[in-house]
Point group: C2
Chain length 240, copies 2
DNA sequence: CCCACGAGGTACGATTTCGTACGAAAAAAA
DNA sequence: TTTTTTTCGTACGAAATCGTACCTCGTGGG
């Protein structure tokens, strides 16, 4: 990474943009550009976090797992954020499984220098804490949706959250993976997506679906979508 | 609050115990002892957080609400923690509704001096961050339970989490309130509790239920209970 | 070009939970 | 004590979702 001050403006990760120049120069030399393939694992539950990943493109799924192997997605991360929230909180253990749900690229940084950088800079820490807070809000609303929303609402919510983090309208995912994230049957996802398709909200192809009418999907998601997104915006605006 | 160094040992809040002496002396003079009545509101969603509450006894429900007034509990707080997590993250807006689900008492501290104290002490911040992390873990597992567990499992989980934070086995709550927290029908809670009673796990009276066989309830909750609790223990042990 | 396999479409009964409602019982208020 | 309110017990059909299974179809590899 040479001449980082020049490249920064061309980066897509929102956290980079929110860092003060001196914080950026603290971080930048340690960033390692990385291609993030589909299903690439970035955190293993119970294991130490080795790197934080600043996402430029693509979507990370953060999936909580329990002892009986019940699992469900508790949040997604894209260009607005980074993985490795526990490190910001002073913990180095990965609670959840985290992997690329939609391939992309980004930068990663080893955990140790990252924590050291946090220790050196309050302002950098402030940015990271806001980002972590935004993720917490997202998780809380996932809990709300999981408990109160119907399958269609949850599916719509997920599509919107993914879409927010993508540059294209095409979501390259099988029904099976959507089902895993939502913790529902694959067949249930298929039926719901069909309903979306018939209403003209999406188009489907094998292993891919394309958003055609986003506002239609927003209507389906209703109030289960939007709050965390607005809060993210607010939190990121607060940082100077 | 006079002679706080003497009283500290007699306090029940785990965070107090984990603070370094100098951090404690930073905090202690600003603590205001407070009785926390049933249903007493400590945070209003969307409003600024005015105080953080360190719980000594009793249980706080943290409830996420969306625009359509769908609501569900995303976490509980007792003697292991405090309310006002967003303040630790550099935000002063309450995301969720928070109120006493089970009456008790504790100490509160105004938000401004609390934030100032955090700014003054890295070690104090470290304790608070660990506590916040523990709460995040709890919320993530609530999301998991909401999405994958059955009513009985979730109810059992809730009872165990409440019990962990109480000194007695008697939970002074109506079925109605349990239903609100879990986001299910009151009638569903009644039926489930009956099943628990018939299996000898609890005894019921109007507005109150008593745990008789905790391990029975633990078996019902299965793997939906335990991980966040173990993590809390670990995180708090880490703090020196 | 064909085959094997993964993905999707669909079906069916079983389960879980819902929405609602109504009466009984207990506690609180009068 | 009597009345009122709250809480609980229970029931019913409806809706949502499940678990499972089986078949079809598209696509990439052989």
């Amino acid at each position: 990474m040479n001449d980082l001050s020049l490249t920064r403006a061309s980066l897509r990760n929102h956290l980079f943009a929110k860092m003060r120049p001196d914080d950026w120069s603290l971080i930048a030399p340690l960033l390692e550009p990385i291609t993030l393939k589909e299903r690439q694992v970035v955190e293993v539950p119970g294991k130490p976090i080795t790197h934080v990943y600043f996402i430029e493109t693509g979507v990370v799924s953060v999936v909580a797992v329990n002892a009986d192997d019940h699992r469900i997605e508790v949040g997604v991360i894209g260009k607005e954020g980074m993985t490795g929230v526990p490190l910001v909180m002073g913990d180095n253990k990965a609670q959840h499984s985290a992997y690329m749900q939609i391939a992309g690229n980004g930068f990663r940084m080893a955990a140790t220098p990252f924590v050291e950088a946090l220790a050196k800079s309050v302002s950098l820490t402030a940015v990271m804490l806001k980002s972590a807070q935004a993720f917490m809000i997202q998780t809380a609303h996932t809990a709300l949706a999981n408990g109160r929303a119907k399958l269609e609402e949850r599916l719509a919510r997920w599509l919107l959250m993914a879409h927010d983090r993508m540059d294209t309208d095409a979501v390259p995912l099988t029904h099976e993976f959507l089902a895993v994230m939502l913790g529902v049957r694959r067949a249930g996802v298929t039926v719901a997506l069909h309903s979306f398709e018939q209403r003209g909200f999406i188009a489907m192809r094998r292993g891919q679906l394309t958003l055609i009418n986003r506002s239609g999907i927003e209507q389906v998601a209703g109030s289960f979508y939007g709050m965390p997104e607005a809060e993210l915006k607010r939190l990121m605006a607060e940082v100077v």
